[in-house]
C-alpha cells in the first residue's frame, strides 16, 4: 500500500474529529492533528481506535503517544501492517 492510499483511508477517520473542516481538504504528510486540524486532544484515542479497526492492527501505548500527526500515523500503520 503506498502512502497516498494510506492517506486516502486515513482521511475519513480524521475528518470525523477535525474541527477545522477546511484543513481536512488539504491533508498531507505534514498535517498535525491538533494544531492544523484542531482535533480535541481527548479524541486522539478515538482516532487510534478507528485506525485499529480500519487497518485491522493493534497500536501499542508507546506508538499511541507519538501518533500526533499524519507522518507518525503513516509510519506506525506501515510498521504494524508489516509485522501483522
Amino acid at each position: 500500500m503506498d502512502r497516498a492510499d494510506l492517506i486516502e483511508r486515513l482521511t475519513p477517520i480524521i475528518a470525523t474529529y477535525a474541527q477545522d473542516k477546511d484543513a481536512v481538504a488539504s491533508i498531507n504528510e505534514t498535517t498535525d492533528f491538533i494544531k492544523d486540524l484542531r482535533i480535541n486532544s481527548a479524541n486522539l484515542v478515538d482516532v487510534i481506535l478507528d485506525v485499529e479497526e480500519e487497518f485491522d492492527i493493534e497500536i501499542d501505548n508507546l506508538s499511541m503517544e507519538r501518533m500526533l500527526n499524519v507522518t507518525a500515523a503513516i509510519e506506525i500503520i506501515e510498521d504494524k501492517l508489516k509485522t501483522k
Partner: protein
Amino acid sequence: MHNRVVVTGLGVVAPNGVGLTAFTEAIKNGTSGINHDPQLEQLQFSCQIAGKPELSDEFIAQYFSPLELRNFNSTGILYGVIAGMDAWKNAGLNINQDSDEPAWDSGTIFGTGTSGIDKFRESIYKVDELQLKKLGSTAVVQTMASGISAYLGGKLGLGNQTTTNSSACITGTESILMAYERIKTGQATKMLAGSTGDSGPYIWAGFDAMKVCTYKHNQSPMQGSRPMSASASGFVPGSGAGALVLESLDSAFKRGATIYAEILGGHINSGGQRGSGTMTAPNSIAVQRCIKGALQNAGINASEVDAINGHLTATAKDATEIQNWSLALDRKNKDFPYINSLKSTIGHCLSAAGSIECIASILQLHQDFIFPNINCEDLNPEITDIIDFNKIPQQLLNTNVNIVAKASFGFGDVNACIILKKYT
C-alpha cells in the same frame, strides 16, 4: 437586598409531549404517555409499562453533532440537553457558538439520579472482556454524575457555577430552589435549573425488585398510573427532563423577557429517617414542616394557596401525603386547594419528576388552568375523608390560578416544597 427571581424560559422532554407546545396540550387534555415496553416484557419485569419520551434521529440531530453522537449511549444526557437548550432558546437567549467569552453571570444546577446507565453497562462489559481501550474518550463524561451539567455548560457557554445535584425524587425541585438561592443572593443573574432521568430496564429494575411498581396494568398501560385512586397499585416508571431558566427580575425586565412565574421561595429538609421516616418512607412531621417552612420562606399564608401539585406517586402513601398537606395548611374538605398529580399521565419520572412537574405547575399559573387528574374515577375513600372530591379535578379547569405549592419527596427521607406565583 435580595433579588426577586422569575422564570423566563421553559423546556421539556416528557413521555406525553416533547417541547412546550406538545406538553401543554397533553397535560390540558390528560393525554397519557404510558406505553407497553417490549424490552421490559422480554426481561420479565413485573411492571412492563413505562413512560419514555419519543425522539426521532432527525430531531436529535438538531441538538447534537454527528461527532457527539458517536458511541453516545446516555438517555439522561440526551433528554437533559434537549430540554436545557430549548429552555434557553425559549427565554430568548443566544446559544453563542462563536464567542470565546463564557457568560460569566449564567450557570446551571441540573440534577440527575444516575448518569448514562446504559453507557456504564456497556463500559463494564468491555472492561471485563479485557477491551478497556475500546471505551474511547466519552465513557467518563457520559457516566459522571455531572455529565449533564457539563454537556449543557459547553453547549451554552456558561461561566457561572455549573453543577449537578442529586437527591432521589426531589432532585428536580431541589435544583430549582438551589438555583433560586444563587440568583436571590446575587451570585448569578441567570441559572438554568432542571433535572433529567435515564430510561430503560437498568434504571428501573431496582424499583421493580422492590415491588413498588404496578404489575396489574401490563395489558392496559394508559390506566396503569393511578394516583389518589382506590385501585392505585404502585407507580409506573417514567423518564425525561425538565429545564427552567431562572433570572433576576431586574435582568428579565431589562431584556423585556416573557415572565412565566415568580418563585416566592421554598424549603428543603429531611426527616432524618427517624419517627415514621425510613430510607424509603417519609417522616410525616418532616413533610409538614417542609410545607410550612416553604410558606414561611415565601411570606404567604396557607389560605393563599390556590392549587397543589403533589408528589402523589400512586402508592398507599398517597393518602398520607394528602393528610400531611391538610395538616400543614390547616385546610380540609371544601376549603382544601385544588390538587393534581402529573404522574397519572407521565408516570414517576424519578430524578426528572420534580422539574417536569414544576413546569406543569408554572404553565397552570401562566395560562390559568388546572390540568386534570386521570385514572382516579374511583377516588381513595381515605383521601375523600380528608378533602372534597371536587378539589381533585378530573376535567380541565379553566380558572384563575395565582399561587401553586409544589412538593417532591424522595428516598433518604428528603423533602422539597416550592411556592410559585403568577407574576403580576
